[in-house]
Structures are given as C-alpha cells and as structure tokens.
C-alpha cells in the first residue's frame, strides 16, 4: 500500500499508539476525580496544555492564554466562530477557498444579521492584501483564515495579514485554522497577534477524535458544551486523557519531522509527472504552497476514475471533491482558488507525510503514467 493522503488523515506512529495504549490501561479514572488517580491525570493534562501553548509561541506570555482540547477541528472552529457571539451590524471576513468548518460556520452568522465578505484569492490561492486593507472597517469583528489551505496547500502570510487587520481595527478577532500547518510550519500567536488557533490531531498522526483550540487571554468565547465547567469552563466534558496524551506524543514527533524531505519529494514528483505525463497541470507553485500538498490535474480525465484506478493498486490519494458525481460540478472552493470550472472534475490532491519515501513516489509515478496511457482512449478527439 502507498498512502498519499496525509492531509486527510495521517497514520499513527508506534510511539503514539504505545502512549495511547498505556494511557487507556492506566488512566481509567475520571480526570476530575479528587482522589489521587484523578489528580495525577489533571497534572499530566496541565503539563501537556503548557507544551501545546509553548508550541504556538516562543514568547512566555503565551502561557497566560487558554488552550482547550476538543473532539475535532470542526468543533474548535465552531466553538470559536459561534462563541464570539457576533451581532447584527458586525462584519466577518473569510475565504471561500477554506474548509467547510470555517466557511459554513461563517455563513450561519448571516442569520444573526452579520454581514460576511469573502476575501478574493490570487492565482496562488493567497489573500488579496489590498482588498483586505480596503475592507478592514471598524465593523469587522472577525477574520478567519487557514494558515495552509487544505485543498491546494497555499500558505498565507499570517504575520502580514495580522498587521493589516490589527492596524486598521485592533478589536477585530483574527482566527487561524492551522490544521494543515501545525507541526511543520511556524506560527507565532503572540508577536503576530493572532487571537485564536485551531489545530487537529489526526493530521499529525494522532488518533481521530482529538483537536485543540487556542484562545488569547481575556477573550470572551461562549462554550458550545455546558456542564461541569471543565477546561476553564470553555468545554464541559471529562477530558479524553488518553487521546490528549497521544496527541502530545504526535505533536513532539511532528516537530522533529524533516521539512527538507518534503520539499525534495514535492520537486521530484512535479519533475517526473511533468516530464513523463505532459498532460499533467500543476496550478500552484511550490514557492507559495505547502511541500506536503500537491494539487494537479490531467486535463479531461476525471479525478474519480484516476482515483479508483490507483485504489485498485492500493495507492491512495484524494480528489479533493466531496461531490461524487461529476454531472454538474463547479466547486465553490476551486472557483475561489481560480481553477477553471472545466477542470474541477479532474483535480487531484496528493499529500505527503512521515510514512512516505522517494521509492514510493517513484512507484506512484510509474503507475500513474501507466494509467494515463491506458486511459488515453477515453479522450475525445
């Protein structure tokens, strides 16, 4: 099997599984229990929380901020976007190219009378900074953005964007979804003045079911889950100690990962595919995108058909499209990313992670070229 879909979910490392297994065995007590078994877990949870906070900034003041563990990045984004309790007359800025847990949450704000504005993206999927400057009025109360886009890997310049936001309106909340960047790309919540950050476990080889939400000190966020007041009242629910512990191990491992390896792999893939299968198009440059995510298409060949041919050979990539049928299919995400509508049905996303080797990528390229040749008869002359 060759797994090239790490941006969707990344396989667990042995260290993470071991930690999880141990914790499942020993951390059976309720972490809120006042006896020793509970207190022991609380202490570990606190220590881990500090590790996560430290991973988001080199500035020690970050330790005064909040960090909560949630069940998923979607929960983190929902908690934040809904929890800010924007009111009629407020404005929220977002990007149509982002994950639905941002876009769809922002869209619900319309019902409360909030105006929403989608920031245009350039050819590389980067936010138009001039537009941002022009649209940062006093009414803008929330700005959400992915650090790395999950579809095409575009990397936003958060430092610069935050400056534009805060210089124009210091009260505007800047929320970053760092799900695809966390663990390999630096983020500096303190100096860059970022108010909240979502991260996810299963993208960095932790199990599914664990994610995190960073919130700057003193910011008011109404919790989604009400009850016993766990995690500073921001998320009632007994903490999932075992998941948190394995998330922490995954985090430590992710930060050890060698970024140069992915850059090399990405360049190698682009070079081979372009050369051996000239019909391959790479709409986004490596200079502006994550080396771990490679978006491409073969004109006039449906991504789903390619995906299934690869799947037959136990190679797994993603077509980046939720819509299974290609009958009428413009994707708002790809439109936002400036991909011509006629090519939406052909878009493929390959994403790299710790398991991958150059050897695997070569096998992928060999097979991919073979499949493309095999399917040439489908192309209408």
């Amino acid at each position: 099997m060759i797994y090239l879909d790490h941006a969707a979910s990344s396989p667990l490392r042995t260290e993470t599984i071991d930690e999880m297994q141990q914790s499942l065995q020993y951390d059976f007590a309720n972490p809120s229990a006042i006896h020793k078994l509970g207190k022991y877990q609380q202490a570990s949870l606190l220590k881990i929380k500090i590790e996560f906070l430290k991973s988001l900034s080199d500035d020690r003041s970050v330790l005064n901020d909040s960090f909560i563990f949630t069940s998923s990045a979607t929960e983190s984004n929902t908690t934040l976007i809904q929890g800010l309790q924007l009111v009629a007359g407020d404005v929220a800025l977002y990007s149509e190219g982002d994950h639905p847990s941002l876009v769809q949450n922002i869209k619900t704000l319309i019902n409360k009378g909030v105006s929403i504005k989608a920031a245009p993206l350039n050819k590389q999927g980067l936010v138009d900074l001039i537009w941002l400057e022009e649209n940062m009025s006093k009414n803008v109360k929330l700005c959400t953005l992915s650090h790395v886009n999950n579809h095409n890997g575009s990397i936003q310049n958060l430092e610069e964007i935050s400056k534009i936001i805060k210089n124009n309106n210091v009260d505007c909340h800047f929320h970053v979804d760092a799900v695809q960047s966390y663990g390999w790309l630096d983020i500096e919540v303190t100096t860059w003045n970022i108010d909240s950050v979502t991260i996810s476990g299963h993208k960095i080889s932790a199990p599914k079911g664990i994610a995190g939400l960073y919130i700057k000190k003193d910011l008011k966020v109404q919790p989604l889950l009400i009850g016993g007041g766990h995690q500073d009242g921001l998320r009632s629910s007994s903490e999932a100690t075992s998941l948190v512990k394995s998330f922490n191990v995954a985090r430590a491992e992710a930060f050890k990962d060698d970024l140069a390896k992915y850059i090399e792999m990405n360049i190698h893939l682009r070079r081979r595919l372009k050369k051996e299968c000239p019909r391959t198009v790479f709409p986004f440059d490596l200079d502006y995108t994550s080396p771990k995510i490679l978006t491409f298409y073969v004109k006039d060949i449906s991504s789903d058909i390619l995906l299934r041919h690869l799947e037959e050979n136990e190679i797994y990539i993603s077509s980046s499209s939720a819509c299974s049928s290609k009958l009428k299919g413009a994707s708002p995400v790809f439109l936002a990313l400036n991909i011509e509508e006629e090519n939406h049905k052909s878009i493929l996303r390959l994403s790299l992670g710790w398991t991958n080797t150059i050897d695997e990528l070569n096998k992928f390229c060999d097979l991919f070229n073979e499949i493309i040749l095999d399917l040439e008869f489908l192309l209408k002359k």
Binding site: S302, I305, R308, H309, E312, S325, K326, L327, L378
Partner: protein
Amino acid sequence: MYKVLMINVDELWLKGKNRPQYFRAIKNHIETVVAAFHPYKFKVKNESQRMIVRSDEPFKEKVFQALQRVPGIHSFSPTRDIELDYELLYPSIKEELTSWGDKLPRTFKVNTKRTLKTFEKNSMEVSREMGHLILKDFDNIKVDVKTPELFVELRILPDKFFISTHKYMGVGGLPVGTNGHLVTLLSGGFDSPVASYMMSKRGCRQTFAFFYAYPFVGEEVKDKIIKLMEVLATYQKETSLYIVPFGNIQKKIAKSCKEDYRTMLFRKYMVDCANILAGRIGAKALLTGDALGQVSSQTIGNIALVDSITSRPVLRPLIGFNKMETIIKSKEIGTHDISIIPHDDACSLFAPKHPVIHPDNKYWLEYCTNNEYAKDLQDAIEKAEKIMFSVRGELIPSKNS
C-alpha cells in the same frame, strides 16, 4: 380491529388443471409476506378460491402495503370478524364507518353474502336493515345501489360475521415462481426496474445482474442499484443480485473495437455474461428494459443482432412503451425517485460519437469470433458479489461475512 384479511386472486381462475399449483404458490408468497410484517401467529386458508388470513392480533398498515405488491393478488379487504350475534352486527359496522373519520364517502351500498344459509335473515333483509341504521346514524351519506363510492361488505359465516369497507388493489397477474426464472439485466435508469416489475406480475422469479464498471464508476452507482433492489425485491419472494465486475472488460472492448461498435459490443458481452449466469442458476430467459428505438442500441437492427447471439430468449416488456409511460410506471412502483439520483455512467463515458445503427455483419462476426472474452466473462461471474434480498426489501447478510 382487522384480524382477518380477505384476499381475491387475479388470473388464477383462468388456469385449468394447474390451478392447485398456482394457489400453492400464492399462498406460500402471502405467508412469507405476512410473516415478514406481522410478528404474531396467523393462518392462511384457501376458502372457495379466496385466500383468508386470520390472526389473533390485528393486522397493521405495513402488512397491507406489502400485500399490495404480491403478484397474483387482485385485491384484498382488511376485515373485522365478530361473533354470530345479530345484536352485535350494527355496533361493529358503526365502529368501522366511524373509523373512516372525515374521509367517509358520501354514497354507499351494503352487500351481504350468506354462507350460512340457515341464518335467521336472508341477505336482502340484512342489507336493508343495516343500510337503514347507517342512514339514521350518519348525516352526510346516501344510498346509491348503482355506483356507490363505498361498499359495506358483510358476510355471514357459520360462526362469524365479517365486515369490511376497505379494499386495497394488488398488482394482479400471476404468483411469482409460476412462470419461470429470469436473469434481469438491471441498470440505474428508469427502464430496467420497470421491466422487472412488469415480469414480476407475470409470475416470473428473477435473479438480477448489475454490470459494475468499476473503476470507471464508483461505489455510489452500486449503492443506487442496491436501493433499486430494495424496492424490486418487494415484488419478488426473496431474490438476489449479482454485481458483476465489468469495468475492465468494457475497457478491453473499447480499446480493441471500432469506436462506433463499442455500445453494441458492451451489450453483446453483457448478454453473453447474463446467459452464463442463467445457465448456472437454471434461468430460462433474460429480461431487459429495451424500448424500441429509444437509443441507438435499441433499434430494430441492433435488437435483432442481440437476439441472433443470445442462447436464451430476451424478454423486453417495455418494447412498446414511450419514455413517459415508463416514467409514470416507475412512480407507481416506487423506483422513480431512486432512478433520478445522478450517477456516473460508464456507457456514456465510453459512448462513441456516432454509435453504429446498421452494423456490418462481417466486422461483427469477425470481432466476436476472434477473442478470448469467454474466459473473462466466466471470471466475471465467478468474481461477482452476490447480495440476497428479503421480501421486506432488506439485504440478507451473507453467512460468510
């Protein structure tokens, strides 16, 4: 409430010496269907060419809905049964009519039949007296002996009165299994599900074959076919679907033949494959949703071509149907809303720009004789996934999984 069902059979009276066999088949089907939806004891009896189902617990609407799909049933009436005490008869009739609520029709007629000839009153008297009482109690209803909207059916049996006012129409025709076994070539469109229904009500047992063009189409097509099967199985008595892997065979054909012959050759090899399956399961004929001239592969020339290569007859019940007629039928039988779900179709993916309408016999024969598809087709049947469906239209989990 209704602890008795009176079922009228449809065409069974046409049968001569074979009649007992037909009655056995329909009785068995009724038993299976009732058992599937009525979790209590019940008995089905053939009483003077009518099927009577009795239980100690009232039958529910689900049983009625299911029986409406049993081929061979003309109609049936959920029936109240009460003690043979004339004093009790009208109160029960009143209760029955009251249960109609606002929907009670405006005109009625009481029909009484007497099996117990020694009963104190004759049929006419009973009808008249009950009609009179109804008129007294219900304001907005009149008698109409010629074309009443409502029949109040009364039966005087040796030990019971039967009362029924509801009549459900069945699909009619002949009981499943009395007219042979077919292999039905099923696709996700409108036609083949309707064709299957048509032959269910002509008493054909069916085994279904779906030619799955994976990897050119995905799981969603398979899911759609299973959804269709969940409906079609309710007109059958327990049936199965073979999901035949066909994508790579189609690719092989598409790459090796003249482009304009693709669709016709797909068809030929699907029919060949269906014949192999038919041979294995002992089916006598194939069933397709062809309608003459609907698409290029259904022209008279191409239909003749298929018929010239098939070793079993191909039944085409929709041959004279207009598309609209098929669509209307699909709404009636419950497959329409599934058929409209969009899906990728391998045939249209491979479709030639100008499909052949007048096939060249020489080329056709040459292509069909010089190849090794026979083994591919055998393999495809061998590898086919078989899914069983109950009379409830539900998947029956296989014993191996």
